[in-house]
């Protein structure tokens, strides 16, 4: 890798293939590890269904319970802002849509660069604020280990490097773009080995919760 261009080509080529393979195989293995464990048949006579209440909980847990929201508004609002901001940058930035179109063959309308740019700034600021909260809030600091900070970094880097690439700062551009793509690959490789997996497992967790409560006649 003698030049930034070589670096970019490596990142877009072999490195991406490796990251994608680790991501896809890793996530599938993790999901299989969960569902193959199964659960024992419940012999108690049910009061309600499982499937419907389970699906309802999958949806309703997207909104916070009022009391815990009042007690911890920043966690909830900060969580919404950065997750939504991250998804907007990922899915509605025109160059990303073009990339996904070339891979998946489907496309959708994007947002103007100015909007995505502003969303990226808000997302970065929120992520920094959430990191400060994690370090200062007694419960979060207590619960947090190296993995929590590692996944924070993995979520933060793609936004920062994307922002720098878009604004053509810290030239040469191919190098910055290469670093941006590498940061995504870092995120993808970490996915199956960390709590980033919640992206795929939360619907399962919510469903089990709602289903088990539903059986007892309670909507959880």
């Amino acid at each position: 890798m003698s030049s930034p261009i070589d670096f970019l080509l490596w990142v877009k080529g072999p490195a991406f293939d490796i990251a994608l393979a680790v991501f896809v195989i890793g996530v599938v293995v993790r999901l299989l590890e969960i569902v193959l464990l199964g659960r024992k048949q419940d012999l108690a006579e049910p009061k309600g269904g499982e499937f419907g209440p389970g699906l309802r909980t999958v949806m309703t847990r997207t909104l916070p319970e009022t009391g815990s929201f009042k007690r911890s508004p920043f966690t909830v609002i900060g969580g919404y802002i950065w997750h939504i901001g991250f998804l907007i940058c990922l899915l509605f930035f025109v160059p990303h849509i073009e990339l996904l179109h070339s891979v998946l063959g489907i496309k959708w309308p994007g947002l103007s660069n100015h909007i995505v740019d502003a969303v990226a700034v808000v997302t970065m600021v929120t992520l920094v604020a959430m990191l400060i909260d994690r370090i200062t809030h007694s419960v979060k600091r207590f619960l947090s280990g190296p993995e929590d900070y590692l996944v924070w970094l993995a979520a933060f880097l793609p936004i920062v490097t994307g922002y720098l690439a878009y604004h053509r700062v810290l030239a040469p551009y191919p190098l910055v773009l290469g670093i941006h793509i590498l940061s995504i690959e870092f995120l993808m490789v970490l996915f199956p080995f960390t709590k980033l997996m919640h992206t795929f497992t939360f619907p399962l967790a919510r469903w089990y919760n709602g289903a088990m409560a539903g059986r007892r006649g309670v909507q959880s």
């Binding site: 006579e45 815990s68 709590k195 919640h198």
Partner: protein, 422 residues
């Protein structure tokens, strides 16, 4: 019980891991929101009491033995093992600072049912010998004597004789072919015999065919509280045998929260077979009688009163409407607490906490949550439907020097009953 060892504890933890547990641990992002739902955290501010933290031993077993990456880390010596020291350190978190109330399971944004996992984790604590002395004692008494408080059937008979003498009613015992077998909790037998009298009066008026069983009168189950499926199964089996012997159609779970969880939800799974009878909670039965016009009452309570939802009956049991329907029949000024029904706050003494003397100080401290709920309402009476909650509420109110009568709902209904001779 065979000798408790770390190895047995670890095996017990392994056996408890299923797909929901794996999905829950995989989804936790350490957001800390469960802390805000737990009275042991909100009233102490101690982050160790964050519900998900109480599961660290079980989480380690899951990560190190049920995930590929965890196994690699373990092989490389990068994993922290579950040791006796860890279990000893966690024991007060798992037993003193968790009432299995399940409120955390209602708020987790990724949907983790934390109480489901704590119940499972306790199996490993018991098997490794790390359980509070008070709860071990209650479990031993339940197995050897037949009741966690050491109550034997002659004590029930004594109460029955008193009630029969006072009321002139006959309390049926060991009647084969009765429709309903009524179970009791030790606390009702010893502290609140009014409950038995209330049953006798209500069932007479409603024409319910019922009986007590001399071999199966105890509904409480120390096994599910301490987390020993072996003990729990033996206690459930006693009830099932009694019910089968008397050929009843229904078994009535008394006003006791965890008894309902034990006999209604865990029971068939503990003994590995479905029951040949149905289980109803007393409030469900009373509500059925009310709907059928068989529960005739007169007069209304004028006192401003509220209802404390027992966690195991309401949030974990699905008996949501019956207490409200019944209260509205006899109370003119029934008001709800700010958080009620499935979001109610625990009395602090569920899940075996009340049987664990070591936890008394903490339990009374966190009762501040219930007190502040009551302070908002300014009520004259507190109604509940669990003998354990009732005792804990009385204890807490006394500690905080609040004069507020606590009554059982069944008993309150009996007070308003239209007697046959009227």
């Amino acid at each position: 019980m065979s000798k408790a060892t770390l190895e047995r504890g670890l095996n017990a933890l392994r056996e408890e891991i299923d797909a929901p547990v794996a999905a829950f641990f995989s989804s936790c992002v350490n957001c800390g929101l469960c802390a805000e739902a737990c009275l042991f955290y909100t009233e102490t501010g101690d982050p160790r009491y964050t519900p998900i933290n109480k599961l660290e031993p079980l989480r380690r077993i899951w990560e190190q033995e049920f995930t590929l990456w965890g196994r690699v880390k373990k092989a490389l010596g990068l994993a922290q093992p579950v040791t006796d020291e860890l279990l000893q350190e966690w024991e007060p978190l798992v037993y003193d600072a968790c009432s299995l109330c399940g409120r955390c399971s209602m708020v987790c944004p990724v949907g983790n049912d934390i109480a489901y996992m704590i119940r499972k984790e306790r199996e490993g604590f018991v098997a490794s010998g790390n359980a509070p002395e008070g709860m071990k004692g209650a479990s031993t008494r339940a197995i050897k004597i037949g009741s966690p408080m050491g109550v034997k059937f002659p004590a029930v008979q004594a109460q029955v004789r008193h009630i029969e003498a006072d009321t002139g009613l006959k309390i049926p015992v060991d009647v084969e072919g009765a429709d309903y077998l009524a179970l009791l909790s030790s606390m009702e037998i010893m502290n609140f015999p009014e409950y038995i009298e209330a049953l006798a009066r209500i069932f007479k008026q409603a024409g319910v065919s019922w009986t007590l069983c001399s071999e199966a009168f105890e509904a409480t189950n120390a096994g599910i509280q301490i987390g020993s499926s072996d003990i729990a199964a033996e206690l459930v089996e006693r009830v099932v045998k009694g019910a089968e012997k008397l050929k009843v159609k229904y078994v009535i779970s008394p006003e006791c929260g965890h008894a309902y969880t034990a006999i209604r939800w865990e029971g068939p799974n503990l003994i590995g077979r479905r029951y040949p009878f149905k289980v109803v909670h007393i409030l469900e039965l009373l509500d059925e009688l009310r709907a059928a016009g068989k529960l005739k009452t007169k007069g209304m309570e004028e006192a401003r009163l509220t209802f404390h939802d027992p966690c195991q009956i309401v949030r974990k049991g699905g008996v949501l409407e019956p207490p409200r329907n019944l209260l509205n029949q006899v109370a003119a000024n029934f008001v709800e607490m700010s958080d009620h029904r499935e979001m109610n706050w625990c009395c602090g003494g569920g899940g075996g906490v009340s049987a664990n003397e070591r936890a008394d100080e903490l339990r009374l401290k966190v009762f501040a949550r219930k007190k502040s709920q009551l302070d908002e309402l300014n009520v004259d009476k507190l109604v509940t439907a669990c003998a354990n909650c009732r005792l804990m509420l009385e204890d807490g109110l006394e500690e905080y020097r609040v004069e507020l009568p606590v009554v059982g709902l069944t008993e309150m209904l009996a007070e308003h009953l239209v007697e046959d001779n009227e």
